[in-house]
């Protein structure tokens, strides 16, 4: 990105030398992102952050749905998807939400049973952003394809943790974000099945073939591309993470925690644990003071002050889980000594107010 900032400060839409240099960098990044998901560069649209890409996918594909349409989604989507879908209700579009009790996603047959005559679109996350629960989106894509229903897969949390290949996946649109694979924030991509129409959210020039006008953040896209090129190495490193996550999770349980989302398969990069008698935001602050950075609910929703809607949906009979959840994340550079240190901090802080 530093190199790019010297060479490519210009507007990539300009035809002079500096502009062409910038454009070349953007297109190189596009090739890298496309290559990392087995796609053609021409089918990759760059956008700002992941929230924007989710909105573009949902609203862009739903723009001309007839008023009595139904959209199938889940109870545990990221706010960028859930709120975008809710905005369609003003037009009369109905939303149906699949439950994931305890984090267990429904099997293909159950999913297929939720697809109705009026279902015109399905929007499903691949990996849950709070618990790491994995949904069988390939199987869902087959069920959707059989009925001619376009499926948008929010792969924000899957990309870099599970292999993503658009041909194997069989979805109509896939959302990827840079910040989840170690790239800069503010850059994301929407892969779109060829010849599928997309209404733009933003109106302006002709960038991204009119689907996402506006001069791009060249530096962020360069960073995104560089991170995409590292995805294979990242996937390899992920394999070593499960034992570290399990060790941390056991320490959390020993300190009085209850794991969330373990009823189904999960990625190995996250543990989501609830501690009865603590409020999530207070536990996060207490751990922060000791040098352990954690989250309660999604970082995106931590300004909202409400307990995690994902955990409320996964455990409707246990609201204390949503109120007291702690999310700890691991990455390809996480070391065993960090797990040991984090476990010790958890033990020490939680001892200050043991569970009732």
């Amino acid at each position: 990105m530093r190199q790019a900032s010297e060479a490519a400060w210009a507007n990539p839409s300009s035809i002079h030398r500096a502009g062409r240099a910038a454009k070349a960098l953007v297109e190189r990044a596009r090739v890298a992102v496309a290559g990392s998901i087995g796609a053609q560069a021409a089918d990759v649209i760059f956008a700002g952050g992941g929230t924007e890409a989710c909105n573009l996918a949902v609203l862009g594909l739903a723009h001309d749905l007839p008023p009595d349409s139904e959209i199938l989604t889940t109870e545990v989507e990221h706010p960028a998807v859930e709120r975008a879908l809710q905005s369609l209700q003003a037009r009369g579009v109905r939303l149906r939400r699949l439950p994931l009790p305890g984090g267990r996603a429904p099997a293909r047959e159950v999913f297929a049973g939720w697809l109705e005559e009026r279902t015109r679109l399905a929007v499903i996350q691949w990996v849950n952003h709070e618990t790491g629960s994995i949904l069988p989106v390939e199987a869902y894509a087959q069920a959707c394809a059989e009925r001619g229903i376009p499926l948008v897969v929010d792969a924000s949390q899957a990309y870099g943790k599970l292999p993503v290949d658009v041909a194997r996946l069989g979805a109509s649109a896939v959302v990827l974000t840079s910040s989840k694979i170690g790239g800069p924030t503010g850059a994301s991509a929407l892969w779109l099945e060829r010849c599928r129409e997309l209404a733009p959210l933003i109106h302006g020039g002709a960038q991204e073939r009119g689907r996402r006008p506006g001069t791009p953040d060249v530096l962020a896209l360069v960073g995104f591309g560089a991170a995409a090129a590292q995805v294979p190495a990242r996937l390899t490193a992920m394999q070593g993470l499960a034992p570290l996550r399990d060790s941390l999770e056991q320490a959390a349980q020993a300190a009085g925690g209850h794991v969330n989302g373990a009823a189904g398969p999960r990625v190995a990069t996250v543990t989501n644990v609830s501690f009865r008698g603590w409020r999530g935001e207070i536990l996060v602050a207490a751990l922060d003071l000791e040098g352990l950075c954690a989250s309660s609910g999604a970082a995106c929703s931590s300004g909202l002050g409400a307990p995690s809607p994902v955990l409320t949906a996964m455990y409707p009979e246990a609201p204390w889980r949503a109120e007291s959840a702690l999310r700890l994340s691991l990455g390809p550079t996480t070391q065993p000594h960090e797990i040991t240190h984090a476990s010790e901090i958890l033990r020490r802080v939680l001892a200050r107010a043991p569970a009732p």
């Binding site: 603590w278 935001e281 207070i282 536990l283 602050a285 207490a286 922060d288 003071l289 000791e290 002050g305 802080v349 200050r352 107010a353």
Partner: protein, 349 residues
């Protein structure tokens, strides 16, 4: 020693934090989100987002961690609902007393435990001192105009021991000067004077909206004669003159509010004076006294302590004043002092 500093975003708590940092303490700043401000006049009063941001900027300038903690539910149940109940019951609440004791101080001590802090510091103009036997004594702030000990009378011993008031010996002017000296970002910000949760100071409108009521009633004099009409008993407090709409003649003031009859009773200035008051819901700073004693009692925040004989009762205490006091108001706190020291207090019945 790790110190939890309560920061409202106002000058006082920001300067308190800055002084503690200058003394070399390890600080953790906390701002409570107590209420969502609505209405036109959102800036410069507690609980607007700008105030939380002022606290954050002070913490960032000085260099210590700062967190915003959501206590809206506790504030609603311990302060706002009792406030509404009180007005509808014909009394005049002291919400700052309820807030300081049941929300702020209580929750701050609990947070201090969870954050591994030994003590809690606030920007109150009050003082805590240790007496010879180790008990903590609550005293008036040196600036008697700003003294806020009135609101803290019910704080129990074990909590008082852990409270620190860096501004206790300062005047307001000195606080602002220290703020400028220490580079506190909002040192020139005006003080918030009104209730933090009532938009534009309109209590009557607030009660009507929150409880969906609208109750006209009668205004009568002491003889029971009808003299006018009122737009809701919650718009009146003992000693009030405005809003009665009684036209000319001698000035008349609210003497009593009768919720059972939905009536406001008015009289003349001389009728407002009384020699005694009785309290319930009493809290004593030390062991509860058993025998009557001489002290000074404040019957509202804006009241200089008046000499009185304090007689403990089963429910609380009776204060018999040396001189008649004007407009003693049910629902307000009566706080007992011995010189500068707070002995205890209760709610006027």
């Amino acid at each position: 020693m790790r110190v939890l500093v309560a920061m409202s975003g106002g000058v006082d708590s920001s300067v308190a934090a800055a002084l503690l940092a200058e003394q070399g303490h390890d600080l953790v700043g906390v701002t409570f989100h107590l209420w969502d401000a609505q209405g036109e006049d959102k800036v410069g009063r507690c609980c607007a987002p700008e105030d939380r941001d002022d606290a954050r900027r002070t913490a960032e300038h000085i260099g210590f961690p700062h967190y915003v903690i959501d206590e809206r539910a506790a504030f609603r149940s311990h302060v706002v609902e009792p406030f509404l109940d009180s007005y509808l019951g014909g009394t005049t609440p002291a919400p700052c007393v309820a807030c300081n004791q049941h929300v702020k101080v209580t929750r701050l001590i609990e947070l201090a435990d969870r954050f591994g802090c030994d003590v809690v510091a606030t920007g109150h103009y009050a003082r805590v001192e240790s007496s010879e036997d180790g008990t903590a004594r609550l005293l008036r702030g040196r600036d008697l105009h700003k003294d806020q000990s009135y609101f803290l009378y019910g704080v129990p011993q074990r909590v008082l021991e852990r409270l620190r008031f860096p501004l206790g010996d300062l005047t307001k002017d000195r606080t602002r000067a220290e703020g400028v000296r220490l580079g506190v970002p909002n040192a020139q910000k005006p003080d918030s004077q009104e209730l933090c949760f009532v938009p534009d100071g309109d209590v009557g409108g607030f009660v009507e909206r929150e409880r969906q009521v609208s109750q006209r009633g009668e205004v009568r004099d002491r003889e029971g004669q009808l003299v006018g009409e009122h737009q809701g008993i919650y718009r009146f407090t003992v000693g009030q003159r405005r809003g009665l709409g009684l036209g000319g003649g001698p000035a008349r003031y609210v003497l009593r509010v009768l919720p059972e009859d939905n009536t406001v009773v008015v009289g003349e200035d001389g009728d407002l004076f009384a020699r005694q008051c009785e309290t319930t819901s009493v809290a004593w700073c030390g062991p509860a006294p058993e025998a009557p004693f001489e002290a000074q009692v404040r019957v509202r925040y804006r009241h200089a302590p008046a000499a009185a004989r304090v007689i403990p009762t089963a429910r609380g205490f009776v204060a018999e004043f040396a001189e008649p006091q004007r407009a003693i108001t049910p629902g307000q706190a009566a706080v007992v002092y011995r010189g500068d020291e707070v002995v205890g207090g209760g709610i006027i019945a």
